[in-house]
Amino acid sequence: MTDQRSVFADATQAKGEAIIECVGVDKFFGDFQALYDINITVGLQEVVVVIGPSGSGKSTLIRCINRLEKHDRGSIRVDGIELTDDVRNVQEIRRETGMVFQSFNLFPHLTVLDNITLAPRQVRHIGKDAAEEDAMSLLDRVGIPEQARKYPGQLSGGQQQRVAIARSLAMKPKVMLFDEPTSALDPEMIKEVLDVMVELAKGGMTMIVVTHEMGFARAVADRVVFMSDGRIVEVGTPEHFFTNPEEDRTKLFLSQIL
């Protein structure tokens, strides 16, 4: 396996122990190929930020990692478990992988507390009291313990997204996937969500973040992945990436957004 990967720049490989390994991943939507030969590993406690123009396959890539989309070729391993059609594998990986969506996707018919305790109770079979205690400490962490008994519809966008993060964390995942978590937020709410994510990164959480927040990428990312047209174009440390990009496509993109 290693010799196969050595064709690619070293930067696609994590330095330490890898927790996510994608090898030669292709993904089609009908005749349209969304991902071309994706090779990337993510190490334990690493923060990888994926950027790129819209339609470049960033979201598709992280949605393949927890099987919200099924990849067509290649292999994806999460925490040593290969993603196959076996439902049990998929369930196991989803239990270890938290995901935060652009549109929050909180459950509107449940209170904030119930949103957070649902999965621990239903999937991990934790008792009600223990789950609620956990949930309250998570709400403390994201800074909105006073909203516990409210419904998502009563909260602002930023608060909803923080609840969504707490909901994912309640499953004590080993990896967190963020799919443009701040794209649906008003500017003044972006910061409160990013602050939570920064704290999470400092705490040693393994994260893959699809985002357009270059400031976040610069400050928090261990590596930045640039994707375009379904391909990984360039991977590097933030300093390297933002100050000295190698590929023309990357330079063009950065010149457009910075």
């Binding site: 919200l68 989803r94 509107p108 999937v123 008994r149 419904y151």
Partner: protein, 419 residues
Amino acid sequence: MSDRKVIEVGDDSAAAGRPVEVRLGAWAWAKKNLFSTWYDALLTLTLGSLFVAFGWTLIRFLFTSDFEILRVNLALLMLGEFPRDQLWRPAVALILIAVLLGLMAGMGSASARDTAEQTGLPYQRSRPLAVLRRFWPVLVFVLVVLILTETVAPWLVAVSVFVAGVGSFPLGRALPGGVRKRGWLILIVIIAAIFLVLVGGGVGWDGWGGLHLNLFLTVAGLLLAFPLGLMLALGRRSTLPALRAMSVTYIEFIRGVPLITLLLLGQFVIGFFLPAGFRPGNVTRILIAITLFEAAYIAEVVRGGLQSVPSGQVEASQALGLAPWKTMRRIVLPQALRNTIPAMVGQFISLFKDTTLVIVVNMIDILGASQAANAQGSFLAQGLHRVTLPFVALAFWVGSYVMSREARRLEHKLGVGVR
């Protein structure tokens, strides 16, 4: 409305830029809204005179008609041929059910209070007057019935039902939260049991009739059809081709057949499918036909609800690791069913009215009773349908109107469309 100021024309607070509600005098109002142009005036006069004519006819009808036929046949219209020496059974059942419904309402009220306390959402305990506004058609109908009665017993029953319902409300409200959570289902089961044992026990439901039969067929039909319809809807969305094909075939077949045909089929065909010697009574066969029929429609309503839940909800649930059936049970169904309330109530109302079709299989429901009354020797061929049919219509209107109003209220409470 509350922060608006009502002022008389000429008040100068209008100049202060506050929203102002101008209250016109009656004459000025009429001039503005009814007679502003010549064709407005013409329309007002035409419709006005029609309205007056209709009102006059209605009053004449009420004061000149002989309601003897209703008075004599009241029990027939309400209960069909239920043995007259057994009438205490429905009376006692009615009172017990009132107790349980009072408990339920109390429990519901307490739950709403608790939710409001926790979430900080506004909550207002409904006042007696508001309750009256919700249920006034029922009250009108009960009063009409009571006025038509010739004995004191129905009055006693009505008063007991009222006292039982109102009296048990605070009891339900005082129940602790834990009991309340499971109490609903238990109470529904007890109501069904009371009904079957007390009312059915003496007579057997083939002896039922009148409005009682219409109500029973509606409620029982719905309770039985709902789970079946739910399963059909899920089957139709299943990934298993065989299950999906079966559901689609069933739904499309049943929806292509009129209920009246199914009722007749029930009479002649259901027996063919059942083991020899087991011959269900008439009402049982009607209930089977209604259940099979309604299930297909409910399935389609539920399917619409399932489609209304955004795919992000399923994805979020899957991403959390919930198994598919738990995603369905905890995330999709609660939201889907909430979204189906308007369509579901429409379905319930149309079933309520469709229960009159049992007349074709020789059951005497309230409509059948009205026909039967007109065939009695003393009332034959006197055109008294004009007295009985409005009464029947009133009964159905009351049921349908209250149902649709309550549904709108429930919809509002659950926040359909405002989320």
